[in-house]
Every structure is written in C-alpha cells, then in structure tokens.
Symmetry: C2
C-alpha cells in the first residue's frame, strides 16, 4: 500500500508487446503547451499541490485525534463514563464531516481534466502520449455511472476519503494484535469452550439469521418499490457476516474501569476477539461463493461446499501462520538469550516479526488480520516470557499506543465518513433529517438484534447444560446488550462500495455502529447495575473469594483444553520459554540426553525458584525480576483513577466481598502516594523496599494453585492497561 510505483520508471517491457496502434482525436479547453520546461514545472507544481492537500487533510485527522485526547482526558478526569472515547471521536468526526460538506467550498480543480476515451479494455497501466512525451497512468477502479444526486464539492470530500485498504493493512492489524497480546489468558482458557462456541457457531448463526431477516426485508422493499438496485441473497448473507463482528473496544473499556466479573469479561473479550476473525473469513468466503455458469445468484451446493472449504482453509491457514511466526519469535528470543541486553534490538525484532506475520499471511493469500491475532496470543504466551523486563514494558506500551491511535482514528473517520461519503444510498433523506433515516434503519436494527439474540440465548442454554459454572441469565442479557459493532464491521463494509447493495450496506452499517456505540455503549453502566452484575472484582480476589472454585478450574475446563494444557506445560513451555520447568524434569527418563541439550541453563535456575514461587501467585516466575504487589507494580495509564473508580463502584453498586474492599479503600490513600514507584529488583536482593508498603490485602500466603502458575499473566493486570 505504501509501496507505490516510482514515477518516471520504465514501462518498456510490456509496451513492446501491447503497443496499440491508436488514434486519439482531441478537443481540449486550454493552451497547447509547446515548452517542455514549462510543462515540467506545471507537472511538478501539480504534484506539490496534491501533496500539500494530502498533508492538510491528514492534519485534519491528527487535529481531530488531538482534540479527542484532550476531551477524553477531561472525561476521565471528571469520571464521566456515559460516553466512551470512541463515541467521542465519532462525534468530532461527524462535526468535521458536516463542516467539510456544508461549510467549505473548494473551487473545482481545473487541472483535473477528465478525458473520455472509448476502448474496451481496462489495463492496469495506461501510457498516454502527450505530444511526444509519455505519461504513465494507473487504474484506480471503476467509476459508478448511476448517480441519482448532484454533489457540488466533490473535490474536497473525495480528498479526505481514504483508500479502504488502509484500514485492513495499517489500522486494523495493531488493534487486533493488541487484543491478542493483552488477552487475559487464564480466564480465557478457563472459558475456552464457551468462547469458541459463541465465536464460531454463534457468528455463523447470527450471520444466517441476519441474512434471512434481511432477505425478507429486501423482498418486501422490492415489492413496495423502495429498492433502487439489485440485492441478492448472497449480499444479505454478506451483510449478516460483517455485522456479526462485535467490537471489544468500548464495552471492555468500561468493564475494565468497573472491574466487572472476570468470567463475564473473559466471555465478552474472547468472543469479540475471535468474532472478528470469524467474521472476516466468513465474509470473504461468502464473497468467494461463485456458482458455476451464468446463474450467478442461485443456490449451488458445490459452490457452497467450496465456500465452506475456503472458510476452513483460510481460517486454519491464517491461524497456523500466526502461531508459527509467534513460535519462531519465541525460539529466536529463546536461543539468542544475550539479546536481552539490548532491549531496543529485542523490541524491534518483536515488532518486525509480528508485522511480518501479517505480510506473510497476505502474501500467502491468507487473512493477515486473523494471523496477527493468533500471533499476538502466541507472543504473549511464549515470547513474552523470554523478553527482558524492559522489552516487556516497551512492547506492551508500543502496541498500546498503536492500538489507541488506530482505534480513535477509525472511529473519528467513521463519524467523518457519514457526511463525506458520496454514495450513501438514502442520500436525499439525509438532508431532510434524521427521522426518515432512522425509519429506514429500523428493519436492519431489528435484524441485527435478532441475530445477536439467536447467537447468545440458544448457545448459552446449550453451554449451560455442560458447564459447571453456569452462564447466568443476567450475563446473557449483558452479552446480548453489549454486542457493539465497531472498527471491524466498518472496515469490512467500506472495503467494497461499488454496487448499490454494498453502498446500502455501508450506510446501514454506519448507522448501526453509531447506534450501538452511543446507545449500547453509554447504557452499559446502568445495564450492569440493573442486571446486578458484580463489579469491583479483582481477578485474584475473585479466585481467593471462591477458593474451591479456583482450585477446580482445571476440571471445569473442556477436555480439549486439558489435553492441550498438559502438552503445553510439559513440552512447549520448556522448549520455547525460560519460564517453565526444565525439560529434564518433564520428559520421561529415556529422553534425558535430548532434554538436557534442549534445556537452557536459565531454566535450571528457574527450577529452584519455581517451587518457591508456587506459594505466592503475585511473584511472577519471570526468572529475572520479582514484582511485589500487583497494585504498586502497575505503571499503567489509569493508575490513580482505577483506585478512584473502586471508591465509586463500591458506593454505587452491589459488592460481594465487603471486607476486601474496605481494605482496598484503606489502601487507596497509600497507593496514591506510592504511584509511580516501580520496583524491579533482582531476585537475590532482600525485598527491603516493600517494607514501606502494607502487605497485599487480598491474597493470603497459603495460595498455592498449581494451575494458576503456567498461566500467570505476564501483564501484572492487563485489564487495567486499557484506558
């Protein structure tokens, strides 16, 4: 994408083959410049002008983001929680969109001469002979000629419109990677079965339900005469797929701040993250559904099976690729142990390897975003343990920043595009007002809600049959309500807006995103209290409160997970990281020599610590650094505020473990003073600095949980790292 053609580069090779003996009569308004020097100057000036314009447009977005950041800060400062930063970004985007559309009148660029050649081929490159000098043109795409409306200030609005591939190749990857990298893995794996069910079966069910409801609507509209173009069943299914991708951003930010029940959090986060992966592959499979022959929109069993094969192949291929590069990074950082001395090199390597996952997947015709997700999870599970503490911080912070910027950029662009996009299908209605608009959107909203309901409720019922730790009806309602649509839905719908159906989808999707982010996002906090969901729960606190439950985690989990867990703990962790037990301890005696040569010296050193560490979950088995107390170590963005929110949530919401919170409140004052303190001391040092801190309030020493160790989160508390 960034990669372009070098101007003025040669085009000789293909020219010799495909030279078209051409005859091109012309009639041009303007002078017939003979002076080549003057022509050169003019061309350069045009290029400069275009660059200047591009810079100015990008500047608009940067300013928008800056404004959003300052306002977010104000909101956070005032603890205003009914409008999330993404909702805010959208509002600012909308305002700028309105200004650009109705306020700014840029005179039409007279240099943009449009020639109307009639040929019957659309080559990728066109060479135009202008009085003996050759100019290279590249294909941008087809221009739809059926336009029902007259747009006045085309130029400016077209300029602020990005190539939709920017979303897929630049903005989405860091967001998705960050989601994978910051996944709270212990609770994720505890609920793996349910998450997979919601993400895979749920998304497919939802797509088909939405598709069917939509098809009903479309047929109805066609009968009434409201439909202005083709809208096939595959289009409906495609719409169902893109709208089924729920967004983890907004709701989970609120969950983070309120410290909602960990299981609900894990279910929501896991589902939304995998959801995106499923939706993107599903939509591309539906796009690949091409029945044989001319009857291109009828049902064809073989084509359907082929589509299903594409889905499976692309998904598993991307997954394998992502995991493979993740494992490779882990191996590199495992083998080059001395790389730990150079955090910059380490961070750069980590970044490049994660990026190359995306590129590799795209080059292999897989889905880069899906590969990046699983790469992120693998990196967090294995590579993270091999990194130096400095690099752990750096990588976390880097991807946090990239995620933050990309997310807010997408949402502000969404707001802007509502007015700047020029092919909205119900365009005349926009000018009259929002009322008919929302009427048009009602059937779609109904479809989306029905789809979500068909996903959550039946599946929860089925899952509860097998789960020991049931998914309560209040959880189900929250999951139903909080299924926001966001960046992924938007990116998928803006990718192709060539046909009438796609344009209609895009417009509708925008409205759905606005509605869910503002209404559902804003309503999450009241919803949680209405449904009496536990808030203010610390993940560790949770497990200590339900002591026996925690101990039984392993038996609660689904069997495929148990097998995998054993395999991972016995072979993979020792092979790929420095944190597990040495292979010599886990492999059978006959493999002794092999195990010895594959085990690093550090793993042996760890072995001793391992046994000590088992008794205290707060001590990360990082092999190099000990962190005392979860609260003091966190150097995250919302440090002080987290504490404050605990106050708030404790007073407004129903809380289960009262005395634990009392302790925390008492501790709060102290925490404020110590904030910014960061103690990463070597193991052998006596823990003197902790003398000034009170002991961690919620974790009594006899806390040995054999399960919690291998999945002890490398992030001291990833849920707090989100703003």
């Amino acid at each position: 994408l960034i990669m372009g053609l070098k101007p003025n580069s040669a085009l000789k090779a293909s020219k010799t083959l495909f030279v078209l003996p051409s005859l091109f009569t012309f009639l041009l308004v303007g002078s017939q410049g003979e002076n080549t020097a003057m022509d050169n100057v003019a061309t350069e000036r045009r290029a400069e002008e275009s660059h200047r314009q591009d810079s100015a447009n990008l500047l608009i977005f940067i300013m928008l983001l800056t404004l959003t950041i300052l306002t977010i800060w104000l909101f956070k400062h005032r603890r205003f929680r009914f409008l999330h930063e993404t909702g805010l970004a959208m509002i600012y985007g909308l305002l700028v969109g309105v200004i650009l559309r109705f306020g700014v009148h840029v005179p039409r660029n007279m240099n943009n001469v449009t020639m109307n050649c009639s040929v019957n081929a659309s080559p990728a490159t066109l060479l135009v002979n202008v009085s003996g000098r050759f100019y290279e043109y590249t294909l941008k795409g087809e221009v739809s000629t059926v336009k029902g409306h007259d747009v006045q200030d085309d130029e400016m609005l077209r300029k602020v419109t990005f190539d939709p591939e920017v979303f897929f190749n630049i903005l989405l990857p860091p967001i998705i990677f960050h989601a994978g990298y910051s996944l709270k893995r212990r609770h994720f794996f505890r609920n793996l079965g349910s998450i997979l069910a919601y993400a895979f079966m749920g998304t497919v069910i939802s797509s088909f339900v939405i598709g069917l409801v939509m098809y009903g609507c479309v047929t109805l509209m066609k009968a009434v005469g409201q439909l202005g173009g083709d809208f096939f069943f595959t289009d409906c299914l495609f719409f169902g797929a893109i709208v089924s991708a729920t967004d983890p951003v907004t709701v989970l930010a609120i969950f983070n701040e309120l410290k909602v029940d960990v299981d609900l959090y894990a279910l929501m986060f896991g589902e939304s993250v995998l959801n995106d992966a499923v939706a993107i592959v599903l939509s591309s499979s539906i796009g690949a559904y091409q029945p044989a022959g001319d009857n291109s929109h009828t049902f064809d069993a073989t084509a359907m099976i082929k589509s299903f094969g594409v889905f499976l192949g692309v998904f598993s291929g991307s997954l394998a690729l992502g995991v493979a590069t993740g494992v490779m990074t882990a191996l590199i950082s495992f083998c080059f142990t001395k790389l730990r001395d150079f955090p910059l090199l380490e961070t750069a390597l980590f970044f490049l390897m994660s990026w190359s996952t995306f590129l590799l997947a795209e080059a292999c015709e897989m889905t880069g975003v899906v590969a990046v997700l699983f790469c992120g999870m693998t990196q967090a599970h294995y590579t993270f343990n091999n990194l130096s503490p400095d690099s752990q911080d750096r990588t976390k912070q880097l991807f946090e920043l990239l995620n933050f910027l990309a997310e807010n950029f997408i949402f502000s662009y969404m707001g802007l595009t509502l007015f700047s996009f020029q092919s909205h299908v119900f365009n005349p209605l926009f000018i009259i007002g929002a009322f008919p608009l929302s009427l048009t959107a009602v059937p779609y909203q109904i479809a989306v809600f029905l789809g979500r309901a068909a996903n959550i409720y039946p599946l929860s019922f089925l899952l509860n049959l097998g789960r020991k730790n049931k998914i309560g009806s209040n959880f189900q309602h929250v999951m139903m309500f909080a299924g926001l649509r966001g960046a992924m839905t938007f990116a998928l719908s803006i990718r192709d807006t060539a046909t009438y159906a796609r344009q209609m989808m895009f417009s509708t999707t925008l409205l759905i995103v606005f509605f869910t982010v503002w209404v559902c996002g804003g309503g999450t906090t009241p919803m949680l209290s209405f449904m009496s969901i536990r808030v203010g729960v610390d993940s560790d606190q949770d497990s200590s409160v339900n002591g026996t439950q925690h101990r039984n985690t392993k038996h609660e989990s689904a069997w495929p997970f148990r097998i995998w867990y054993n395999f991972d703990n016995t072979y993979l962790k020792p092979l790929l990281t420095h944190s597990g037990p040495p292979l010599t301890a886990t492999l059978p005696a006959c493999c002794g020599p092999l195990a010895r040569c594959l085990t690093s010296t550090q793993a042996y050193e760890n072995e001793g610590h391992q046994h000590n560490d088992d008794s205290d979950e707060l001590v990360l088995n990082d092999g190099n650094a000990t962190m005392y107390g979860d609260v003091t170590v966190s150097t995250d963005a919302s440090g002080t505020l987290t504490t404050n929110h605990k106050h708030l949530s404790a007073s407004t919401m129903g809380i289960t473990s009262e005395e634990a919170l009392d302790q925390e409140l008492a501790f709060g004052e102290h925490e404020l003073v110590i904030r910014g303190t960061r103690l990463v001391l070597p193991m052998d040092d006596p823990p003197e600095p902790t003398m000034t801190l009170p002991p961690p309030p919620t974790s009594p020493p006899p806390f040995s949980d054999p399960f919690s160790d291998p999945f002890s989160d490398p992030f001291s508390d990833p849920r707090r790292n989100r703003l």
Copy 2:
C-alpha cells in the same frame, strides 16, 4: 501519501466541463469480454494479485531488517566495531538486490496492457470508457523515453522500488525528530557558535566547492565525449548541496560507544543535524532557481537573489513552525497537568503534536523535516520536563525504536537499490565489475573531499580565533574524515531521477554513501586512536576533571547564546515548564500579579527543591521524581555493554582520568547486578533503596554549577541511549 483516492468514487463534477468528444480505435490482443461479472472478477483478482505482490515485497524488507538485527546483536555481543549496523544493512540489501536482479525471473505480467494514446494534455485524472463502463486512471508521472539499455525483468524490480516520497514523508521525519529530541543540549549550546558556522557557512561553502569541481569535471567529460546528456551548472550546485549533508548515524554511534570527548561529539552531532536541515533547504532553493525568459541555465542575479530569499524564508519559516508546535505542546502539557496521570494519553498527544508539525509545515509549503528537527529540540527542552516519568520513558523509547527501524530500512534499501534501480547511468559498467565503476566515481569522491576540507579547515581556523577552547587539529582531522554521507543525501538524490543529470547524481551518490559508510565509518576507531583523541570520557566526569573550564562555560559561549540563555531561563522555562524557578522569582516586582497568575503551584514547590538540587547535578529537577545515580537509573539499551566498552576502551586507548576509571571499573561488577533496577521514588520518601548502592563515583558533592542546572539533560545520558 498514504491517502489515496477512493476507487469508484464519483468524477462527475469535472466530467461535465471537460468531456472530450473522443474517438479511440483499438486493437487488443485478447478476448473482448462482454460479461460484466467476469470483468469484475478479473479486476478484483488483479487488485488482489497486486496486493499480494506488495506484501511479499515489503516482507523482503522486513526479513532484511530482522536479519540485520540478529547480526547486529552478534556484532555487539562480540564487540566487533569495524562495521556498523548501517553498513551491515547495506551489505544485506546489496545481496538481496543481486539476487532479485540476476536470480529471480518473474514472468511479465500480461495484464499490464499499455495503451498508447496520443493526446496533448496530461491531466491528473483520466476517465476511460470501456464499452460503456468508466474506469478511473490517475497520473503516476512521466516516463522517460530515452533508455539506452534493455532491462529484462522489469516487473519484479519495479515492484521493489518505493515511491521516493516515502523517504521524506515517512522515514526521514522520525530520524530527524529523534536527532533533535536526543540532542545533548548542554554541550550543544556550549559550542553553538561553531556548530552554526560549520552547519550554515560550511555547508554553503562545501556545496559551492563541490559544485565548481564538479562543473570542471563535467566540462572535461563533455570535451572527452563521456557525457551522455545535459548537465548544467545548477545541476552541479544541486549535487553539491545534497552531498554536503553529513550523516550523524554511523560515526556518532561509534562515538557513543567509545565515549569520545564531549566537545568533539557536540561539534559533530550538532553539525550533522543542522547540516541536514541546511542541505535540504539549500537543494530546494537551487531547484527553485529559475531565471526569467528562455535562457534557463545562465546566471541571473535576480533569480539568484530570489533563490536566496526562498532559502531564508523556508528555513526560518520551518524553524518557526517547529518551535511553535513544540511550545504549544509544552503549553498543553503545562496547563493540563492532570494529564500526567494518563501516560498513554500524554504519549499519544506528544506523538500527534510532533507529527502535526511535519504535516503543518508541508501544508504551508515549508520543509517538514526541518520543522520536525526544531520541534524535537523544543520538545526536549520544554515539553519533556512537563511529562510524567513514565511518558518520558515512553516517548524516548518510541522515537528510539522508530529511528532505529527507519534508519536501517533506509540503509538496506540503499544497498538494494544499487541493483534494483533501472536507470543507473553507468549501467553497462556495473556488469563488468566494480573497477571501472570506482574509476568513474573518483572525480566525485575528490570533489566531495575537497568540499569537506574547504568546510572544516578554514572555518576551524576562523573559529579558533574567537574560541577560548580551541578546536585542535586532531579534532579537525577527525571531523574531516568522519563526515559520512547517509540517509539524507540518499533521500535527496532519489527524490528526482527523471533527467540524465539526476540519474548520474543518484548513482554517484550511492557510491559515495557506500564508500563513506564502509571505509570512513569502519576507519573511525583506528582514526580516533591515531589522532589520540580522548575516549572513555563521561560528560559529567569531563566537567569535574576540567573543573574551572566547566565553571566558565557561560563566558566561553557566544554572546547571542548568552542573551538567549538569560531570556530562556528567566521567562520561557518558568512559563512553559514546571522545572524552572517560578516566574514570581524571575520577573521584576512590578509584574508581580501577572507572574503569580502564570505560575503553577508546582513551580512554587520546586523552588524549595531548586536550591537543594543545585548542589547535586545528578538529581534531576523534575519536580516529581528523583533519580539517584546516573548509572543505576539508566535503563537504556546498552546498559551492560556500556560498562564493558569502558573496560575495553580503558585498556586499549589512552585515558586521562585514571583513578576515576578505576572506580568505575570496580563499580562495574556491581552495576551488572543492579542492572534493570529502576528507582523512581517520590521526593518525600526517604531514599532508602540507595543505601544498597555505593555513592556515585565521579561526582563529589561540592559540584554546584549554576550553568549546568537549566540545561541538565532530562535524558540521564542521551549518548548512551544510542546503540
């Protein structure tokens, strides 16, 4: 640049005005597809294929960088210092270039039909009517038709060639910003006069000398008949300007590791950084030299004065813009003090503001790179003091990473382009071998060396007349020898390769960069020891050794600097940062009320500390955090190795302060244990943790230097932060 046109968007507005009644006869090899669905599929497939190819090409670069990182690590690990990472990146790039050129044979893309329309206009957008459907084409640039050679595998090589604007808009800004942000300001300002002289007068002298020598060569070549195209005097001057930009990367990395004399370091770094800014503006001014009338390559006094005006205007405009946004960021972070609680927001804001400097400058037709440089310096001087310690780390690490990636990317691309660029002027010679090639390059090398000599020696002589602390002849020789050419020279020369002269310049520049990076870069270490330059000098140690010299810094400095320093310390620092004395203390009594309302409460708090802190330079007057001991606080990339290099350099080179180093060596072991320890404690806390550390070895308590305080570097030691 990233911003593109949305495919399929409307083009109606201009169409109605400029519709050309056209007649286009065609003769196309291939089928005349009637089925629109099939056409659509074909277009999509072509776009996918192109995207796949782009991903694969980008992947090549990412892999190159990964390989470079691993090898660099090996070099660093083995303390191999004769080939810098940038030289290494170039070698890998060369290898891949050779493979792509001679090894890979990609079949020509049959879809790239090139049509040869004869019109006499080159509009920015072209609309082609293909049997009733309209396709949009955009202008890529002119294709040079005079090609003396036949390239076989055009397609692949063209694909790995980037748009040269990528360098200016994406890769250079972070490099230049990092240079400004990590400038060691105390020593920079101490040598400000000399640095400005070298950077401004020196660069201009160098450009003209190189231009004149080149013009001689070109006239000679023309006489001999070796010249294959036009090469005007302005071209020679342009070449002089782009080749005068010395690169700070390679040599300074070596200087860092060896801890070379701080004054030499400051001179080299300051000159190289400002050099780049001068060269880029100078070259664009020379490009803007357009004499009136048709005689476009003769001398014209008015045009020359106009060019000079452009130079002054663009340079001062960019400087003002950069400083303005820097000050604005400082003000924002000064006013929104509570932003410190959210390091993520703070870092994002810092990043966006710095980026917007670049965009703003480009949108105002200034030079973004120059603006970014001065923005970086302003950010380091003011904004940095207002940031939370966490954000200080984050911003430093972020730009360090961006700089590292961009730098190595450029250098590996340089290596690759030697073979992938298809318009090298001495192309046939390449195949025969490097020998005739280097012969061709000799006159240019001579010109470059003469230019450098004409810059350094006369200016040093003049400067020494005024300086108390003379620039020794050994310093001059090193500055002469270590004037490498790097990223900026390359970016400037690849920007425009349309004409014969520019192509020749580009090829020559590449050779010059290779030569200087490999030969001069590799020879720096022997050169330093040959010239008996002091190495292993700590910047603070240096000042304690030359106690009286340090105390007199202010009187040594140039008078404009002294005035500015007083102004800065009295008004700007208190106004913009939390670190200076409060305005109430510095402003005259009559301005009392104004001063009181402009002073933050934090500044008052600082006032008390200020007096205490004066006695100890190692305590940063950060208002919030105290760092104990420069060595233990540094969490930089080369922590352990810095110590090791000290060992090495102490044993191999002549060292002045023996006992200080002995202490450091004794301390070294301890440092290895404590590495990774990071103590950022609140002011009010008793400094308990330092009890375990020995007192800083090289800075005795009575170290009050009124000058060192305002410029006390916020980076504990920026020179160590470079790898």
